[in-house]
């Protein structure tokens, strides 16, 4: 228990939850990209994800816990870190010593959290309502049309794009930083940083591409 209460322990749990969320992000973008390739393939993958009991009743609760844990621990650490300097500097010049991204993870995280609220409202809540409140029969052909319908609204697409730009910024520091928190800083670090950078740009921008693709096409 003392490990989890220590400053390093909290960072370790932040890193592990971050890696879990990053792996989920990869799976999510792969399935979403199917909607660009073929509506049927997207329907098939979504139907599998939406009806498989292991994913629904084991992985989904773990995912929700992971998201809530990462955000809650982020705020706990931010609160403790702010308390470590109760009186601020009259003048602070951080530009030369650290990146804006690394100093503002809490703000990019907050926007992403707001986006997740909209995302849950858009997709998860209707899905739960469809399956567990209205008890409608499984319809494996509805997913693609629901997706296209959501991306018809330019305001939603705009907020979606902004959120994924913020996610990219969050990942640009967070992904490679998670390795450092777990004690990984060795000869592979330059490669890890480059790979993390590529992932942080490619994955969020693919989400944006998918949204814009459906917005323009339909």
């Amino acid at each position: 228990m003392s490990f989890l209460l220590s400053s390093i322990g909290k960072k370790v749990t932040m890193s592990l939850s971050a890696f879990f969320l990053i792996s989920f992000l990869l799976l999510h973008v792969a399935i979403n990209f199917l909607s660009v390739v073929s509506g049927d393939m997207y329907n098939e993958a979504s139907h599998f994800m939406g009806t498989n009991p292991i994913i629904q009743f084991i992985m989904q609760p773990i995912l929700i816990f992971g998201v809530l844990f990462h955000f809650t621990m982020g705020f706990v650490l931010e609160y403790q870190n702010k308390n470590a300097r109760p009186v601020g500097y009259v003048m602070k010049n951080d530009k030369r010593s650290s990146s804006w991204l690394s100093r503002n993870m809490i703000f990019s995280g907050l926007v992403i959290f707001a986006f997740l609220g909209l995302h849950f409202y858009d997709f998860w809540v209707p899905e739960m309502q469809y399956k567990y409140i209205e008890f409608k029969p499984p319809n494996e052909h509805r997913y693609f049309s629901e997706l296209v319908h959501k991306f018809e609204d330019p305001i939603r697409v705009g907020f979606y794009t902004l959120s994924f730009i913020l996610l990219m910024m969050h990942l640009l520091h967070g992904f490679q930083s998670a390795f450092q928190s777990l004690g990984v800083n060795n000869k592979f670090t330059p490669t890890i940083k480059k790979t993390a950078w590529a992932f942080s740009v490619v994955v969020p921008m693919t989400f944006v591409f998918i949204a814009l693709f459906h917005f323009i096409k339909h």
């Binding site: 400053s7 909290k10 960072k11 009259v90 010049n93 928190s181 004690g183 990984v184």
Partner: protein, 247 residues
């Protein structure tokens, strides 16, 4: 050169501090920053005013006493030096310079620019030592062969002077660079193996107790460190801490 100084003045640890404006004239570009403050204090004393209190000792970049936040950066605008090694040639005639103490909950202000860094001492006391036989038959240190790479890394870590610039630079006032340097310098050497696991847990525990923040890996600490201590030491301390807690 003539300069405008904005200096944090605070009577004692409980008083409310504020920035006070001063002017110093005919400052030589060959002076050190502390010598410039000496000129200011001589002038203030001559006028019957309270001189500005600031820490200093060796004035050659070894003791780590002269810790000032100058224009928003620990030890000022130059890299890899302490405040006493900062020369006035880094400034221009007419410049305005803001001088503050390092700020952290764990470094309470004693007076003006002097802070209490005994939190670092307490972290060191918690584990930064090795058990050696001092009964008279102590083995010569050179009798223990040490890998050159490890020796170099240990020496680099040991060059930390405990000035607190890492804490001052970190947005979280984290002391991870300092503590990790102390953990690393022993963890890398055979003499440090006996207390290895207990050392890291005790020092991290004391670090947290003192009220320092957590590391966000911004890297500001290693940029502002006058001795160039690398954040690879923080990764090593994280490994040591995780490893000691897994056992």
């Amino acid at each position: 050169m003539n300069l405008k100084l904005k200096i944090w003045r605070q009577k004692n640890s409980t008083a409310k501090g504020k920035i006070v404006d001063y002017e110093v004239n005919e400052i030589s570009s060959d002076m050190s920053f502390l010598e410039m403050l000496d000129v200011l204090n001589a002038d203030l004393t001559e006028k019957g005013k309270e001189p500005v209190s600031f820490d200093h000792d060796c004035r050659e970049g070894i003791c780590g006493s002269c810790s000032l936040q100058i224009n928003g950066r620990p030890h000022g605008p130059d890299g890899a030096i302490t405040t006493c090694q900062l020369h006035m040639r880094k400034f221009k005639d007419g410049d305005s310079i803001v001088i503050e103490p390092f700020r952290a909950k764990a470094f309470p202000i004693v007076k003006d620019l002097i802070i209490d860094r005994s939190a670092f001492d307490r972290v060191q006391h918690a584990g930064a030592f090795v058990s050696v036989n001092t009964s008279g038959n102590t083995q010569d240190a050179n009798a223990t062969p040490i890998n050159k790479v490890d020796a170099d890394y240990a020496f680099d870590a040991a060059s930390c002077i405990g000035c607190g610039a890492c804490v001052a630079a970190c947005k979280n006032a984290s002391a991870m660079l300092f503590v990790s340097a102390k953990v690393s310098q022993y963890a890398l050497l055979p003499q440090g193996q006996v207390e290895r696991e207990k050392r890291v847990t005790d020092m991290v525990s004391q670090m947290d107790e003192e009220g320092f923040g957590a590391c966000t890996n911004t890297g500001a600490c290693e940029i502002e460190c006058p001795k160039g201590i690398s954040i690879t030491n923080i990764a090593r301390m994280n490994r040591e801490f995780i490893g000691s807690n897994l056992k």
